[in-house]
């Protein structure tokens, strides 16, 4: 164990390489953990997963009274999450673990944070103490490590252009550095779920009942967290802002950058193909297929970037004057995609006809949602 990290640290940050080493020291396999002696560990693991599903404040809690259970239950919780095969549970678990760690990391001393970054993530990081007029940048992180994670954040302050960059390093304060660490943890949990090892992983039989319990819980919460849209775009479920932009396009008007971005991201996110999106634009006078395709593919995360862009929130659309004629449902959502989800789930019966031709649902998906 590293001199700097205590057993308590390993409990706080069970993702650390040192925690794995700690567990390895016990010479335990996952099946061993199912023995009655470890029932506390199993219970805690299940609790971790449950809490991440239920969400809310303190989704992932910490029990420092029993560091051993805390450390041992983490890989078991992860195993249950991967074994569920539910992509959104993986995301959910990763997000809540990241949030929990971020809160704790922010309070740590700089040398410990640097140690965690180096030893568990292999980051190239040094302690600096750069004092600027408004801030104090304590860390110096290698550019490549920064760029591995920071593009996940979309606020302008995370753009490399707006960072203090010098000789291959990005300078960061403790708050930003903790945030990056936590986000990297999240990315690792999610990425690992795509690896063969996690995909082919077989849960020990004794743990199956716990997995079933978790799956049952998932089923009950599905409505809340549904992030998979039905196949085929349900035109009738689009919110007024998107319908208005689509109508402008059909009329051949040329759009502001934000309007283009909004409709492109929206359509891609509800499952429209790149070609389908391009078709929307084909009436516009200055349409340049090659250029547009490149832009749409980029937004779809096909060229270069791995990230698929999400459409802007209502608040943003509003400030760009794109929120036109919001309806009743609009009053209850803060994101156009939520509007769409809700409408799709509600089916055509409750959705007031708002399209310019008053067409109602009936396409595949609108009804298929109801179980």
């Amino acid at each position: 164990m590293s001199k700097m990290l205590t057993k308590e640290d390993l409990a706080k940050y069970p993702f650390l390489d040192q925690s794995a080493a700690f567990i390895a020291g016990y010479n335990l396999t996952l099946s061993d953990l199912t023995a009655p002696a470890y029932s506390g560990v199993v219970d805690r693991a299940v609790e971790r997963v449950r809490r991440s599903i239920e969400g809310g404040a303190g989704a992932a809690t910490l029990n420092l009274g029993d560091t051993e259970t805390e450390i041992l239950s983490y890989p078991l919780a992860l195993a249950l999450v991967y074994a569920s095969g539910a992509r959104w549970l993986v995301n959910r678990f990763a997000t809540s673990e990241a949030k929990r760690c971020e809160e704790l990391l922010k309070m740590e001393a700089a040398p410990k944070l640097a140690e965690i970054a180096k030893s568990s993530f292999g980051w190239k990081v040094d302690l600096e103490d750069l004092r600027l007029e408004w801030e104090r940048l304590t860390f110096r992180l290698g550019l490549a490590d920064y760029l591995e994670v920071a593009p996940q954040f979309h606020s302008p302050s995370w753009k490399l252009t707006n960072k203090y960059v010098d000789k291959g390093y990005v300078f960061l304060d403790t708050k930003d550095f903790s945030r990056l660490l936590a986000e990297n943890l999240k990315l690792r949990i999610i990425r690992k779920s795509g690896e063969e090892e996690a995909k082919n992983f077989e849960l020990p039989a004794a743990l199956q009942p716990h997995l079933s319990g978790i799956l049952g819980l998932l089923e009950g919460k599905k409505e809340l967290y549904e992030d998979e849209f039905p196949e085929g775009v349900v035109d009738e479920a689009r919110p007024p802002c998107i319908v208005a932009i689509a109508n402008d396009l059909r009329a051949g008007k040329s759009l502001s950058h934000m309007a283009r971005f909004a409709i492109t991201t929206f359509m891609l996110n509800v499952g429209e193909s790149v070609d389908g999106v391009l078709k929307l634009f084909s009436n516009v006078a200055d349409f340049d297929e090659g250029k547009a395709r490149y832009q749409v593919e980029h937004i779809a995360g096909m060229t270069g970037s791995r990230t698929k862009y999400a459409p802007p929130k209502c608040e943003v659309l509003r400030s760009f004057g794109l929120c036109v004629e919001p309806d009743k449902l609009c009053a209850t959502v803060s994101h156009p995609l939520n509007y769409y989800k809700r409408r799709v789930r509600a089916g055509p019966a409750t959705s007031a006809p708002r399209g310019e031709d008053g067409r109602r649902g009936g396409r595949k998906g609108a009804q298929g949602r109801h179980r």
């Binding site: 600027l132 007029e133 408004w134 290698g142 550019l143 490549a144 760029l147 591995e148 920071a150 593009p151 302008p156 302050s157 753009k159 490399l160 252009t161 707006n162 960072k163 203090y164 960059v165 010098d166 000789k167 291959g168 390093y169 300078f171 006078a285 200055d286 340049d288 490149y294 060229t303 270069g304 970037s305 791995r306 990230t307």
Partner: protein, 417 residues
């Protein structure tokens, strides 16, 4: 794609390209981790690229070039486990060099007025210089261009590549000169390849951040410390010695205010503030270069005006790269020392120390002997090596081989045998 395509194929060009490759020592085709690169070729008269090639050695590549004398040869910026697999996913991507492309074609230069023309394909309206986005007469966007490249264009591209290296790669990104390769593209610009291991694994979104950085996209001076202490307190801001865009903005403002006319300043911040600053220019410049700098060292302008100057000044420090090349993790780029099918010049590697005196129209010439008779359709003044011709139209002449092939490859002349 230059040099291939529908244009007429001339046997003399193919023969000369073949001669060039048979004279070329194979080791001049070497690139880092040669066997991990995908190769691609485009042949004269062809529209489609032959892709997914892999070579065991540079001599094997050279043999193929002699056999086929292609118009253009490319290799992948990416390193693959199986470069020859024809499904992109099966190739096994292992990383990629970071590439920057600077093309004079995309930069507005004054010389374009003297050598470029454009025509609207819809109404036939014509003009000279940098092509407009849309036809000024009918508003359509189908614009056909005839572009040439002159010393002025190439000097602008060179200045841009120096800026990229000296103001971004070395000071900000910490790239060592030993980790970069500079290439004249063989036609209108330069490529910079960054070969460091640290950038190899960068994904597309990380590369986009780098492209945005050198282009100054999303730059917000407020993020770099330009803020006012609440309660109408002093304006604080960056120091000229700071790293990254922070220091660049501070230096840019200094240059802008010291070097610009009052008129130009007025266009940015309006007459009142511009006049105030101009009147006490010395004092302004002095206080912003103090340690620590005083950005509100005198009365008569607001933080807002300062931000306007910052934005205008910063624009002049951005680097004009073609971002698509940089953010692509599997780009095909020109093979060093291969010929460019649109110019018959070679893609020439230049060391940083030679760059200043590098003359692409001379140092990238691949054919140094022989002459050829050509029929010239229409050309502006053109120089290749020490030979200058034009402007000329509808005339026959005998010129050195390099000049002849250049004009033929540009589609502005035909060989006369």
């Amino acid at each position: 794609m230059g040099g291939g395509g529908a244009g007429r194929v001339h046997k003399v060009v193919i023969d000369e390209f073949r001669n060039y490759y048979s004279r070329l020592p194979a080791e001049q085709l070497d690139v880092k981790d040669f066997v991990k690169r995908e190769y691609a070729m485009l042949h004269f008269g062809d529209q489609t690229m032959v892709r997914h090639l892999r070579f065991d050695s540079t001599s094997e590549l050279r043999r193929r070039l002699v056999e086929e004398a292609p118009a253009n040869v490319y290799y992948s910026s990416a390193y693959y486990r199986d470069p020859q697999a024809d499904d992109m996913n099966a190739k096994g991507w292992e990383g990629a060099d970071l590439i920057f492309d600077i093309d004079a074609d995309h930069i507005r230069t004054d010389c374009k007025e003297s050598h470029d023309t454009w025509a609207c394909l819809d109404c036939g309206c014509r003009g000279r210089g940098f092509p407009p986005e849309a036809c000024p007469k009918c508003g359509m966007k189908k614009i056909d261009t005839v572009t040439w490249v002159c010393e002025g264009c190439l000097d602008t591209a060179k200045a841009e590549i120096f800026k990229l290296i000296d103001e971004f790669m070395v000071p900000d990104f910490g790239v060592a000169l030993g980790e970069i390769e500079i290439c004249f593209s063989g036609h209108r610009g330069y490529h910079l390849h960054v070969l460091s291991d640290s950038v190899r694994g960068l994904a597309g979104d990380g590369r986009r951040e780098i492209a945005d950085y050198v282009r100054g996209i999303g730059l917000d001076p407020k993020e770099h410390g330009f803020r006012q202490v609440p309660g109408n307190g002093p304006i604080l801001g960056p120091d000229m010695r700071d790293g990254g865009w922070r220091g660049k903005i501070a230096r840019a403002i200094y240059e802008f205010v010291s070097g610009r006319s009052q008129e130009e300043l007025r266009a940015v911040v309006g007459p009142v503030v511009a006049d105030t600053i101009t009147k006490s220019k010395e004092k302004f410049l002095q206080s912003i270069s103090d340690t620590p700098p005083h950005w509100g060292g005198m009365r008569g302008y607001s933080l807002e005006s300062l931000l306007k100057i910052a934005n205008a000044a910063a624009k002049e420090h951005v680097c004009n790269i073609d971002e698509r090349v940089t953010l692509d993790v599997k780009r095909l780029i020109r093979q060093p020392n291969s010929l460019h099918g649109k110019s018959a010049l070679k893609t020439a590697e230049v060391s940083y120390s030679d760059l200043e005196h590098f003359d692409p129209l001379k140092d990238a010439v691949a054919f140094n002997s022989g002459s050829i008779k050509i029929y010239v359709k229409e050309i502006p003044r053109v120089r290749i090596g020490d030979c200058e011709v034009g402007p000329a139209k509808g005339t026959e002449m005998e010129v050195p081989m390099a000049m002849g092939l250049y004009l033929i490859c540009k589609g502005a002349a035909d060989p006369r045998l």
